[in-house]
Subunit: 117 residues, 2 copies
DNA sequence: CTTGACTCTGACAGCGCTGTCAGACCTTAA
DNA sequence: TTAAGGTCTGACAGCGCTGTCAGAGTCAAG
């Protein structure tokens, strides 16, 4: 399928699909005239990227995952690096959450100080 | 005092102090030769900016605060807009926190799926 | 007066996307 | 055949900072 259809199927903009490719996350074939040609495997890959991205992962990080994921199954192949990356990412999310909690405290303190008025 | 000293006192880089000014958050005087000349009021302002920034506020947002803060006191002058901005900011932080929580779920689910190995 | 430290302005770069526009080619249906 | 719509590449922009560099003027101490 061509890029427009993939975009509609996945809900990812054409711009981003091309960007994924530029970042090495996607490697579609090409038609004789140079159009990108995607198959169902790419659809699955895009879905995975979306999922991981929803986890706050950066594309380069996701790329690491994909190395372990290139397989066929709908589920990620266990892979040591994958676990390591995953744990790091979880730590990252936890750190951000803590920081946000601090921010929340600072702000609510202010609000209390100036009166709930 | 000159910018270098203010930087040391506040721990904010010279680069950022100039940036604050460019964004309208600081308005230091100038010596005859064109050097920025800060007084204690500016020191306090920078401290406030740091505090608000720690709350995840963006400089333009902080600028809105400063409009209510330009006074003398060490504490923010109650000001309607300030309260409104504050509440919006708190909402923003809460939304981000929620999103992070979702991210955390996605990631830990993955980890569980591939085995805690 | 000389030297080193400080300051000035303006501009370029990077983070991680994401939209958009330009100019040109391809495809499909009428 | 023609026109519309899809696609291609490459580049510019923006978000909100933050560092750094260049070229030039200033200040202080020796």
């Amino acid at each position: 399928m061509k890029i427009g259809e993939l975009s509609k199927r996945t809900g990812v903009s054409i711009r981003m699909l091309r960007y994924y490719e530029a970042e090495g996350l996607l490697k579609p074939g090409r038609t004789e005239s140079g159009y990108r040609d995607y198959d169902m495997a790419e659809v699955r890959t895009v879905e995975r990227i979306k999922l991981l991205g929803a986890g706050g992962m950066t594309l380069p990080t996701i790329l690491q995952f994909l190395a372990c994921v290139r397989g066929e199954g709908p589920i990620f192949e266990p892979c040591d690096e994958l676990r390591v990356t995953l744990r790091q990412q979880i730590r990252l999310v936890e750190e951000r959450t803590e920081k946000l909690a601090q921010n929340h405290n600072v702000l609510t303190s202010f609000l209390a100080e100036i009166g709930e008025g």
